[in-house]
């Protein structure tokens, strides 16, 4: 492992890595906003920043896996909405109001399990269609996106589910070493994802598949399985994000997560990943999330009309992709 670490942090490679340029950009934005707004550096605001990163950030983990294999997952927003509604209804039916006698905590755990399993199942469905049947991930997940949203409406009965027990708040507000537990969850998931992608056979296989699928197959890697796995993870992370979202606001709306896929993809791209696959990193994605959240937050603090935020984020996405193209010495066949 020390070899891998030495390799990851060797000076020569540091300069060449896109996520480090993005880290520099993130620091630049941070410093600029610190000077521009007196409120920006306040502890409250900084915690607020992290808090605002949670939903997009967790969703972007699964998205990173998918993008690394050269795919894309447009269904994450709908999956969040659908699994959230499913959790709400499970808790609803499981005892909170129906009175089956289960303890509240157990009911909540059951609801979370149902949401995460549903997310995994939806991801498996997309993954099999893409990897086994060779359908374009864009089209498959576009379809799943529509299906997911429609199921969210049906399961929820077109209304927000508002009577989620407040005990679920513990997922968000418990302090872990001084950090709120939803932010801690975000960080732990990022560490796990980094370890998986950098240090395990599966992680390297996912990179190899994205870089040259045929070579990965010819070399004997388990291409099919590791092409499906990212979609499953994407469904799971979207479901987890949904759980944390509803835990925070104690309700879940069938519309929740609308346009979330755009933010997640943007974070991955700003973080330096190539949409062709094979290039990108989980660290870069985290930086991408932070840049987006900081800019949103900063523009709010500066009193800029929220309608300008889209232009700012969009500009950064395009600049990131352009930078990747111009700085990449590699010629794609």
């Amino acid at each position: 492992m020390s070899q891998t670490l030495a390799q990851t942090f060797s000076i020569r490679r540091l300069g060449a890595r896109l996520e480090l340029r993005m880290l520099a950009l993130a620091l630049l934005v941070f410093v600029a906003l610190s000077f521009a707004s007196p409120y920006f550096l306040r502890t409250n605001n900084l915690l607020n920043l992290l808090d605002q990163s949670v939903v997009t950030g967790i969703t972007a983990i699964g998205m990173t896996f998918v993008v690394l294999t050269g795919g894309i997952d447009l269904s994450v927003g709908s999956v969040l909405g659908f699994t959230g509604v499913l959790m709400g209804q499970t808790i609803h039916a499981g005892g909170w109001s129906a009175g089956f006698g289960l303890s509240v905590d157990l009911t909540i755990a059951l609801g979370i399990a149902v949401a995460v399993l549903a997310g995994a199942a939806i991801g498996l469905f997309s993954g099999v269609l893409v990897a086994r049947f060779g359908l374009a991930s864009f089209v498959v997940t576009l379809g799943v996106m529509a299906i997911g949203r429609s199921l969210a409406y049906i399961v929820s009965g077109q209304n927000a589910i508002a009577d989620i027990p407040p005990q679920i708040n513990g997922l968000v507000y418990t302090s872990v070493f001084g950090v709120p537990s939803n932010v801690a969850t975000l960080l732990v998931l990022y560490v796990l994802a980094w370890c998986y992608l950098t240090l395990t056979k599966g992680g390297r296989t996912i990179y190899a598949i994205g870089s040259n699928r045929e070579a990965a197959r010819t070399a004997g890697l388990a291409v099919l399985g590791y092409s499906i796995l990212p979609y499953v993870l994407s469904g799971v992370t979207a479901a987890i994000a949904g759980v944390l979202l509803s835990a925070q606001i104690l309700s879940i709306d069938p519309l929740a997560g609308t346009a979330l896929e755009l933010d997640a993809i943007a974070a991955v791209v700003i973080g330096g990943a190539s949409l062709y696959g094979g290039r990108g990193s989980i660290l870069g994605t985290l930086i991408g999330v932070l840049i987006m959240v900081m800019i949103r937050n900063g523009l709010n603090l500066l009193g800029v009309s929220p309608f300008w935020q889209g232009s700012a984020i969009g500009g950064i996405i395009i600049a990131a992709v352009l930078a990747e193209r111009l700085l990449s010495t590699r010629v794609r066949a």
């Binding site: 240090l199 990965a216 890697l221």
Partner: protein
Amino acid sequence: MSAAPAPIEGAAPAPLLVARGIEKRFDRTRALAGADAEFAAGEVHGLLGANGAGKSTLSRIIGGHLQRDRGSIVWRGAALTARNAREAISAGIAMVMQETSLAPDLSVLENVFLPELARPGRLRLGALRARAEGIFDSLGQRDALPLGEEVQRLSSAQRQLVEIAKALAVGAALIIFDEPTASLSPGEVERLFDVMARLRAAGHALVFVSHRLEEVFSITDRVTVLREGRTVARSVPTATLNQAELIRLMVGQELGGIYAARPAAGGGKVVLEARHLRAPPMVRDVSFALHEGEILGLAGLVGAGRSETLQTLFGLRPLAAGETLLDGRPFAPRHAAQAIRAGIGFVAEDRRGQSIIPDFSVRENLLLGHLSARRGFLLGYRARDRRIEELLRQLELPASRLLDANMLNFSGGMQQKIIIARWLLLEPRVLLLDEPTKGVDIGTRSAIYAMLREVAGKGTAVLVVSSDFEELLGLCGRVVVMSDGTSIAELPSAVLDEAKLTLFAAPRSSMAMTTGLLEALAQETGGAAFWALLDAGRVFCLSRVGGTGAADPGFGAGAAPAFEETHIPAALAAPAERFVLEPDGARATLLVRARSHRGHELGWIGLTVPGGAPPAPAPLAARVHEQFARAI
């Protein structure tokens, strides 16, 4: 040999195209370092060189497919600056490529006039059809192919004809044929040479890029030889050269140098055995045995199913029938990982497409086979550190470059060595290689050969697929020949040469005429009819029909026994167009020279009948001559 000699000059008719001092670099590889050439109207000009000498690069530059870095090209007295193939074509220079540039969904007619289809205005199909007929007529191929047929249904020989017609339709004065015979059977080659002879007679300048010397001698008027990107002989009349001189010009050293000692044939115990492998559509019936410590060649034309055979052995293609034995035990890998864990390595043909992970460092590329073979959850890279260091020293690759992110920065030869090392890292029992020296310069080629010989010397069984027969014969102790998905011969290299391999490897489908003739002869006389080459006291049987008991000549298709090992040694020792009775009186054999209408010798047609009363030889011989004299 390293001192560059002054190019040998030949007498020159007024040149149509003069190229001087052409240089071209691909990344770190110097493909051309000052190449010269002159081509004149009304000649077939051979452009020769070993693999990697730059002949394809030079022809692509002249054809506008590549841009030169330096040098000048004068075309019909004026400087030529074709920025792409279309500009070269409109200037009158066309290429007939190995991988054809035809649109597979369009018809023959549409393909011939593809450039005109792009022009504005109404198409007059009737007029085009008449013109196309005129063109095919001028090539002597009037009814060779229907104009309305979709190109994807044509054979590669027919597609080539369409390419030639396409070049003529735009009025090309110079036509470059880039390795045109690589995937043709001997009969088809003859037909191509007929077409080329007609074009020459009509005043076209033809460039023939090849490394098959026999063909060079039979069709070219003058030759230009490239070696390591430079011209070493310019416009030398072919008639003034012999084969040895040409080889010396191409290779610059004696062939023995690069191929060193050939490993002995077989010897060790059988490691991998294939029995009647079948994996449709390309692999039909393949059998061979691979011994410990040997380098076995798998020869055949493009499309014979060689690559697919390797892929089947490696678990990348499902096996439909037949069996593979590894160390005598049945072994049928369903995934490549299974094959790797059993000790098999596979270097695929297309480095860029099938081997290299471009976003991985060289180190991780080296470790890719390890990653597949590994069963654990983590990487376990460190366990291989020492072996990697060893391999790097062997490859002469500085360890400091091992972290280089981009493997594509290395030359093709170094990339190939790294990919081979990927498998050596696992110390495989069997190493399968598909065209291991494709696109590799000559210096690295000999390094790769040395590597393979060393691996074999340590006991690994090596199986090499190559289209370069010279390479196969130099490198391998034995050669298995495949044709149309079937293994048809397994012979020691010592008794083979390129010409024999070419005949063995010819697609069986193109031998329909010969097979028909053999069948007719066998049936009418009740004997055994065979097609064979006779050389150095051996008979090389290409095909055989009929004949049992008293009519059995003692060898079958694919065999190459010495004369005395057959049942008909007397007849083989003194081939003549009459029935020769064996001393024991049991068999009588007629041998008739098979010669194409261009005078190319294609071996012998033999007929063995029980001794006693053989039929009259003259009418039989006449039939053979007549059949072969027709264009096959």
